[in-house]
């Protein structure tokens, strides 16, 4: 398959790992920010190919994992109401709320539907004027433009029965929090390619400068990651701290201006709670007041809802790269994809799910 096979070529991978072994003289701790990148690392066993001493820790970039428990509870609450259709990205359905999840709510007869795009929810709203249709608008800067487009379009059409439960999060403030924390071990970052396709690289220049840390924007194929790791190690070995772009086939420095303008028009920056991490200032997006009629939090009066995380789940440490999923005493025993304690075990992008799916010690079924 064109544009895929080139990035999964095992000969090129061997060349990259060979070069990596030659340039590495010291141990380095690197973090891939995006959960999609974590899954590629596990699926292809990239970490097994790295020189001893180059350690990958996994970042907070799983949109499903960091969506706060309150948002999941709110979605469950909304879905359980009469004459409401809740539309969501598929992998949110299995995320445990405080005592149930959307899959079970769906099984109990509530109208919960999976969509690949928020525009699908608009279609449902137009076709069912007697139902209130709510889209669960979560994710990083990657999904924000499409969600903004849906709300913008709904207002233009004067759709009265559509709203969005918005719980967007932003990558740079989370990285800033990690870099500023006492226990930080991360010396270089692989920035999330698709977030940067929207936002560009410029936001990361500030981070690289302020914390003297190298950052490489990378894609999601195994060779993207190997090359990004090589670029980071070269920078570290040479004492540089720059933003470099490995994913130039998708990412430009300025990013997608049209998408950014649309986000700017519909959303405003707010403080946001991250599941397992806590509240991070100016790390989220919410609907601007002029879009209040489409804000499910306001439409359903849910703004004051809060919730507590299960105490045993160490997702906070996992999402900050301080612990590996296998450090958790519940991993694979009391916490499995069937019975997850926390979101990182659920999502297709969660670090715990990646370890469980691809790396469970062979011999322990």
């Amino acid at each position: 398959m064109k544009y895929i096979d080139e990035y999964r070529d095992s000969k090129l991978a061997r060349a990259a790992t060979g070069e990596l072994a030659r340039v590495t003289t010291k141990p380095w701790v690197l973090m891939e920010i995006c959960g999609g990148q974590t899954h590629t690392l596990m699926r292809y066993g990239i970490d097994e190919l790295l020189p001893a001493g180059v350690e990958m820790v996994h970042g907070p970039g799983c949109p499903v994992c960091v969506t706060p428990l309150e948002t999941v509870n709110k979605a469950i609450h909304i879905a359980s109401m009469k004459d409401v259709t809740l539309v969501s990205y598929g992998d949110m359905l299995r995320v445990p709320g405080s005592d149930t999840d959307l899959l079970r709510v769906k099984a109990s007869g509530c109208d919960v539907r999976i969509a690949y795009t928020p525009m699908e929810a608009l279609k449902i709203a137009r076709a069912n004027p007697n139902r209130r249709v709510v889209f669960l608008g979560i994710g990083f800067e990657t999904t924000a433009p499409a969600n903004a487009m849906a709300v913008h379009q709904a207002r233009r059409e004067g759709l009265k029965n559509f709203s969005m439960l918005v719980s967007h999060v932003l990558v740079p403030p989370a990285i800033r929090l990690l870099l500023g924390s006492d226990g930080n071990r991360v010396q270089g970052f692989i920035a999330p390619g698709h977030v940067c396709a929207v936002m560009g690289c410029w936001q990361y220049e500030e981070l690289a400068r302020d914390y003297h840390v190298p950052i490489v924007v990378a894609g999601f194929e195994p060779l993207d990651l190997l090359r990004a790791i090589l670029m980071l190690v070269k920078q570290l070995e040479e004492g540089r701290a720059e933003v470099e772009n490995e994913y130039s086939r998708s990412v430009t420095c300025a990013g997608n201006r049209t998408a950014q303008e649309l986000m700017e028009r519909v959303f405003e920056v707010c403080d946001r709670k991250w599941r397992g991490v806590g509240s991070i200032p100016a790390s989220g997006l919410r609907l601007r007041p002029e879009y209040a009629d489409f804000d499910a939090d306001k439409v359903f009066g849910l703004e004051e809802v809060t919730a507590q995380e299960p105490p045993e789940c160490i997702s906070a440490m996992v999402l900050q790269g301080r612990k590996k999923p296998t450090d958790c005493p519940a991993f694979g025993i009391r916490c499995t994809p069937e019975n997850p304690l926390g979101a990182p075990m659920v999502s297709a992008e969660g670090a715990c799910a990646a370890y469980y799916q691809y790396r469970r010690p062979l011999g322990v079924p």
Binding site: G45, E338, R359
Partner: protein, 353 residues
């Protein structure tokens, strides 16, 4: 759930969700949840030595004759899809379950549960397609039943087919017979059926030239058994895909498996669609493929025989049964690293991005 119940739960201390009070769609996905239903609900109530083998068909002896007996229900949407329809699928599926037991399929039953309002023309098309599929496969539909349910109580049309076949003399195939060193053969590309169906689903429509691989496999099985009787087990990897089938065999035989990623045939169109949808082709359904566990010395001959048959032209040796890591299916990636190929937990869910 009532509104006030869920509002109250928002403020309570969360506990892990460990038991299922209701059946979820995932219980029908052929993965771990389906296995749980079998273990916790069906087996305790219905247990007997034939059922507890959990093969795709029961082999029973009547007056010295060994018969294979199986049943399967079909709930596909859309009813008519590229490469087949629910009628042909219901014939192929049941024939294949018999064929995987080494049986020559003889007679089928067909029960139709029809939702009020289904166009007669659609029903006629499905029934004619069923007749054609049965004729081509050399089996007869000898009994049947029709029920109509109120509009909204069914999804257009559900079909159940049961089948009886004659087991070849002396032949014993079972998922519990895989031994270390055995070879794992696959009859062709995986994921074709699942992706062809998905391409036509509401909300997901995308253009693909792909067709369902729905086909009756008993002819292919006959060629394989002529080549060698050192075949230990046959399975058709339907819902849950190749990975679920291999995990089931590994669990029943208490053996491990090591697959070679490069050797598993997958069509470009399937790979492309899976990339786009965030799915893994190893978990996508097939309706015209089989997996064979074959003694090492017979593997070459069986593979040759498969490749000479039109339904096995792309057959491949995809791995080996191991003594190590019993119950776990592992795979060597193209990069020379190793990863686990787990059984699907529920259904595959489309990803956010």
């Amino acid at each position: 759930m009532k509104d006030n119940d869920s509002a109250a739960c928002m403020f309570s201390c969360p506990a892990p969700i460990t038991t299922y009070a209701e059946v979820l769609l995932g219980h029908g996905s052929g993965g771990k949840l389906s296995a749980e239903l079998m273990r916790d609900v069906f087996l305790p109530a219905l247990r007997n030595p034939v059922l507890e083998k959990l093969d795709d068909q029961a082999i029973v002896e009547v007056n010295g004759t060994r018969l294979a007996f199986t049943t399967d229900s079909f709930v596909v949407k859309p009813l008519i899809f590229r490469g087949g329809d629910i009628g042909s699928l219901a014939v192929h599926g049941t024939i294949n379950d018999l064929a995987m037991g080494g049986a020559i399929p003889l007679f089928l039953s067909a029960a139709y549960v029809i939702e009020e309002g289904l166009p007669i023309e659609t029903l006629r098309r499905v029934v004619e397609s069923m007749a054609r599929a049965a004729r081509e496969a050399g089996v007869q539909v000898v009994t049947g039943d029709t029920k109509v349910v109120e509009r909204g109580k069914g999804d257009g049309l559900f079909i159940n087919t049961s089948g009886v076949g004659l087991v070849r003399e002396g032949l014993r195939l079972s998922a519990g017979q895989a031994r270390p060193g055995d070879r794992i053969l696959l009859s062709g590309t995986v994921g074709d059926h699942g992706i062809a169906i998905m391409a036509e689903r509401e909300g997901l429509e995308f253009e693909t030239p792909l067709q369902s691989d729905s086909a009756a496999l008993h002819g292919l099985v006959a060629r394989m058994l002529e080549a060698s009787t050192a075949i230990r087990a046959l399975r058709d990897p339907t819902r849950g895909g190749l990975s679920s089938t291999l995990n089931e065999i590994a669990a029943s035989s208490k053996v491990g498996m090591m697959l070679e990623e490069d050797t598993i045939p997958i069509r470009e169109e399937v790979r492309g669609a899976c990339e786009m949808l965030g799915l893994d082709p190893l978990y996508v359904a097939n309706e015209g493929k089989l997996v064979a566990i074959v003694a090492p010395e017979a593997a070459g001959g069986v593979l040759d025989a498969m490749r000479k048959h039109p339904l096995g032209a792309q057959a491949a040796l995809i791995g080996t049964v191991t003594q190590a890591h019993p119950g776990v299916v592992a795979m060597r990636t193209a990069f020379g690293t190793t990863r686990v190929v787990d059984m699907l937990s529920g259904g595959q869910l489309p990803r956010i991005c």
